[in-house]
Amino acid sequence: MVRPATRAGRIERRIARAERGPADAVDAGPSRRGRRSTPYLLVGPGVAWLVLLFVVPLGSLLVTSLKTGSFAEGFETAVRLRNYSDALSESWEAIKRSFVFALVATLAAAAIGYPLAYVIAFRGGRYKGLLLGLVVLPFFTSFLMRTLAWKTILSDSGTLNTTVDRLHLFGALEFLRLVPEGSDRLLQTNIAVIGGLTYNFLPFMVLPIYVSLEKIDRRLVEAARDLYSNAFRAFRKVVLPLSIPGVMAGSLLTFIPAAGDFVNAELLGGPQQTMVGNRIQSRFFEQVDYPAAASLSFVLMALILIGVLLYARLLGTEELTG
């Protein structure tokens, strides 16, 4: 936290400064020359890793996305920008759907994840480790297995589906556009896919929020209470602002993979839940049209990047970096 933007942040900084005492304000002295290379050495492996496994594949993807030709006559290196306009126009519905699904799933994950992280951080006591372990526990089984298990849970003749039907909740779901008109099933609908995304990415929301809540100085909350804030006000004025970086990080960790996901739509959705990931998959494997698949991947990447930049702009970058 370089430049605390909130009042609570300033208070925290003041407390921190008081704790360190005045001696700490003066730096330990000039660094020796040899130390200058240390940061570069430290960052080297990371940079090499990124170049080799991110920049190079990305470049190769970019080259592929501009190629012409087909699998039969071979793909020729070219600058065919048409691939991009085709990708946008042919898959626009799927792209829109992916962003809506990912957004709703992120909001749902935040709504579920925040209280969960809050309880673990503030009320977890000695069970904190255990509770966190439980949040992560599903990761020990295959992502695919868990998603397939949801197929069984949501099955037409399953208890959940029958219960929703008995309670006449399908009308409400229909109103929210979570199931198609006149639907009497949950599986292969919007709600199944959004639910699957929420479920699968929930830990990515919970963990960063937990970390940001955990490091909040409890004395700040006490100070707020001492200054006659009620519990809710203390939460709103102190805890919530200080935990925003966690929410921000969690949202990105949930939204980005969710927007590109295709397994949930494939298994829990039907043709009407086709996401952009499914389009990329079918272009790559069914149509063997690598340039189309690559340009669509780039379109997705660009749109996510724009979304993230807008989001960061909206909330401020210091919130993003914590």
Binding site: F71, A72, M145, D156, G270, T274, Q281, D289
Partner: protein
């Protein structure tokens, strides 16, 4: 074409074997999941599991590496083909070691995975792969295959004349059929409430949201064309457009619950799917769990697929591959395989040998389709590369809203 992992038909199961099968199926989530997402397998990369045949060979001739569709050969009770009858029998007879995998899940996926290496002239670590005819045709056209040495293949004399003359591989210089099957409709009569006889039933709004179609173009688009009175053996791009438009309208109306790969049987078994575009042999195994399920060849016709053995260019053990091909073209061996898989054998004399094994199997309509079914069995037209691209694009867009 395709097989799926739930396909494990065994004729005349003992109760123990039945129970074992049921258990395998129930615990088959993992397998099913992988089948549902073959591209995940593809993403895992290819031939890192065998570190070269040269070092292995316990027998005289080294290792033969074969890649086939799942459950396409006899296996032991645990479903392990290398402990079935055919593979150990061949190993004992020939002195070769067989490394047999069941990683072929989808023709296009296989092509997407291996074609870069084949194009570059690198060996792909396989001596035999089994792919559907239209894909084999493409591979021949691209020059990715080794030519067969007929001197090593005396048993090819047993090849069914139906398969002998194909325009895309005159004289069978590059390919030999492994098995054939039919693309038709499977349904659950207790759910549909009536008998299903026609492809049009797939489009009946009464079943909206309870129908699945296959992502395999030649089956789904082919059946749709048959329902529209289009000749699938000579269809034009305009025909494909019309059929795709019909599918697209149904997709947008919510008629299709899913467009599936190999996992449609699982949805039939849960009852979520009432009727599905389905492959003939599959329903045999599904009937073990739900005896109500029925597979039919629709009135309008049924799509024939033939999966075919090929030797990829640069195969390390071509002689071994040919020895294997020759072996499975022995009618007795063929009977052994097809009594288990219940698909159609391309080997003449199989029927006699199967009758010796079990007379009842000689009447099995899946292994030996009756004359009326044969009369309405069609093979999808041979597509040029341009048509392949055009048809596939039309079709893929028609099953995604």
């Amino acid at each position: 074409m395709t097989k799926h992992p739930f396909h494990a038909p065994v004729p005349r199961m003992t109760p123990e074997r039945l129970a074992r099968r049921a258990f395998l199926r129930r615990s088959g989530l993992v397998v099913g999941g992988l089948a549902a997402a073959p591209w995940l397998l593809a993403a895992c990369g290819g031939d890192d599991d065998d570190t070269g045949g040269a070092t292995g060979g316990g027998g005289g001739g080294g290792t033969v590496r074969i890649s086939n569709w799942p459950f396409y050969i006899d296996a032991d009770d645990a479903g392990d083909p290398s402990k079935g009858q055919t593979i150990p029998g061949f190993e004992a007879l020939s002195g070769y070691d067989v490394v047999y995998d069941e990683l072929v899940n989808d023709n296009d996926e296989w092509f997407a995975k291996f074609s870069p290496d084949l194009a570059a002239g690198n060996p792909i670590g396989l001596d035999i792969a089994v792919l559907t005819t239209w894909m084999v045709e493409r591979l021949i056209g691209l020059g990715y295959l080794e030519e067969l040495d007929m001197a090593n293949l005396p048993n090819v004399a047993n090849l069914d004349p139906v398969h002998a003359a194909v325009a895309w591989d005159p004289g069978r210089r590059f390919s030999l059929p492994w098995a054939s099957g039919l693309g038709g409709i499977a349904y659950n009569p207790t759910r549909t409430g009536r008998a299903i006889t026609s492809v049009s039933d797939l489009f009946d709004p009464e079943f909206a949201g309870h129908v699945t179609v296959l992502t395999e173009m030649r089956d789904t688009l082919g059946l749709t064309m048959l329902s529209m009175g289009i000749d699938v053996t000579a269809c034009t791009p305009a025909d494909a457009q019309a059929a795709a438009a019909k599918l697209k309208a149904a997709t947008e109306a919510g008629q299709f619950r899913r467009a599936t790969g190999n996992d449609y049987v699982a949805d039939l078994l849960t009852g979520d799917t009432w009727l599905a575009v389905a492959w003939s042999g599959d329903i045999i195994s599904a009937q073990l769990e739900d005896p109500d399920l029925i597979w039919i060849a629709p009135d309008e016709g049924t799509m024939l697929f033939t999966d075919t053995m090929i030797i990829p260019r640069g195969a390390a053990n071509k002689a071994g591959a040919e020895a294997w091909m020759n072996h499975v073209y022995d009618p007795a061996i063929s009977a052994q395989i097809f009594a288990y898989t219940q698909y159609q054998s391309p080997v003449v004399g199989t029927k006699e040998k199967i009758t010796e094994l079990d007379p009842a199997l000689a009447e099995n309509p899946l292994i030996f389709p009756p004359a009326d079914v044969q009369a309405r069995t069609f093979t999808f037209k041979t597509l040029s590369d341009e048509e392949q691209i055009e048809f596939t694009t039309l079709f893929q867009d028609s099953i995604q809203a």
